[in-house]
């Protein structure tokens, strides 16, 4: 059994930017299983919190600790950004890239990438320039490129925010399959419907703090704070 990097522990973790506190101080634990969805109004800190956990932001105060040293823990995580970053390469080269970075043999990496391209419906576009894919195809590619390294933890920052229904549904399908394979998913979204479909538990952020945290059913049925109540009823929450 390979050592797990979870649970993840935040202890008084704080992120400050431009002179103001954006996250925290926050103390939370992210346990070893589930599909956790981070919700909250725009600017509540979802992006910053995911980036902090993944190590793309550095805490101003407090700590973010995995069960392995940071560098080793990073090898077991992958991150899908809200706007997918396409490298100036072909589809197959994009998907294979993280395996190549890890020193995997080219033949095997490309075979794996081709297998993933099939899964996301790009099996016939292996040699196409990834930069000219549609928005949905780009984001599916980004998800495949994240999953190809078999991460223990997968972060996604509003991956379907700019996509149509079909692409959204396809990505949700891939994520549920990954979850069934044992991938621990931490995802930000502000689509209520998506959260209902996917979440096992919800972390509701408000002004850089965890305002409410509950199992999904409990959160949707009996929200405990005025902000989450009005967020769920579709009111504008600022």
């Amino acid at each position: 059994m390979v050592a797990s990097i979870l649970p993840l522990t935040l202890t008084d973790a704080t992120v400050r930017k431009g002179g103001k506190t954006i996250i925290g101080p926050m103390s939370e634990t992210i346990g070893p299983s589930g599909f956790t969805i981070f919700m909250g109004p725009n600017g509540s800190g979802k992006t910053t919190l995911l980036r902090l956990m993944h190590g793309l932001e550095h805490p101003r105060g407090g700590s973010v600790t995995w069960q392995l040293p940071a560098a080793q823990a990073r090898m077991k995580q992958a991150f899908v950004f809200q706007t997918p970053v396409m490298m100036r390469r072909t589809v197959v080269e994009n998907i294979a890239y993280p395996l190549r970075v890890r020193g995997e043999a080219k033949n095997w990496a490309y075979a794996e990438a081709a297998r993933w391209a099939d899964i996301i419906g790009l099996g016939n576009a292996l040699e196409q320039n990834a930069e000219v894919l549609s928005g949905g195809e780009k984001q599916k590619l980004a998800v495949a490129r994240a999953l190809i390294v078999q991460p223990e933890v997968l972060f996604l920052d509003e991956p379907t925010a700019n996509l149509d229904g079909k692409a959204t549904r396809e990505i949700e399908g891939i994520l549920l399959a990954a979850q069934a394979d044992g991938v621990r998913i931490l995802m930000a979204t502000h689509h209520l419907g998506q959260a209902r479909r996917l979440a096992s538990d919800i972390i509701f952020l408000y002004q850089g703090q965890v305002h409410e945290r509950a199992a999904a059913e409990e959160f949707f049925n009996t929200p405990r704070t005025p902000e989450s109540k009005s967020f769920l009823s579709g009111d504008i929450v600022e």
Binding site: A71, V85, M87, R88, V101
Partner: protein
Amino acid sequence: MRDLWQGMIEAFWLIASFNADLYEIVLRSLQVTVTAVIIASAIALPLGAALAVNRFRYRRATISLLNALMGLPPVVVGLFVYILLSRSGPFGVLGLLFTPTAMIIAQIIIITPLIASIAHQAIRDLWASYHDLLISMNTTKWQRMRTLIWDARRSLITASLAGFGRAIGEVGAIMIVGGNIDHLTRVLTTAIALETGKGDFSLALGLGFILIALAIAVNMAIHAISRTERASTW
């Protein structure tokens, strides 16, 4: 006007008659400049990438220095190389003065800052879009530089071509360190300077047309190669 017309005829005649001296000069121009561009690119492209990716103490100063060096007057570079390579200079024992090697050295010094500066800008822009992704994937600094150089290769080819354009048309420095010796260090630009000095304007112009055609042909060839490398759009 007469001179221009005469020059075109002269150029055509030189080429059509397979003038041996002309072909020798053209080949030497190409050999010196292509060698200089290859070596300068081998220095400048990694340097541009390193400046984009790494945060080190004298980074800003290095970038400013590069930009300043871009404006170095070639004649001064020539003089500098001359002093270093002359018999009494520190590298005098190598006996390189008035050889094509000396001309290559001078051209490398002239174009490396130019190529590095353009490369740095191109790679910095690409790094801005790749930054989070490559950090997230736990890439080493070395992998980041290699990835950026490879993925920015189209812009980098343009950077090297800018260096080629500057070097192939340069006369001041290579005149000083090469000496314009017939059958040894004479190249297109120094031959043009010589013929102009002798008053043979049509021959000088003819050589000038050939020089321009050569520069354009090399640019087009490189662009054609890099376009066909992949049929798709980037």
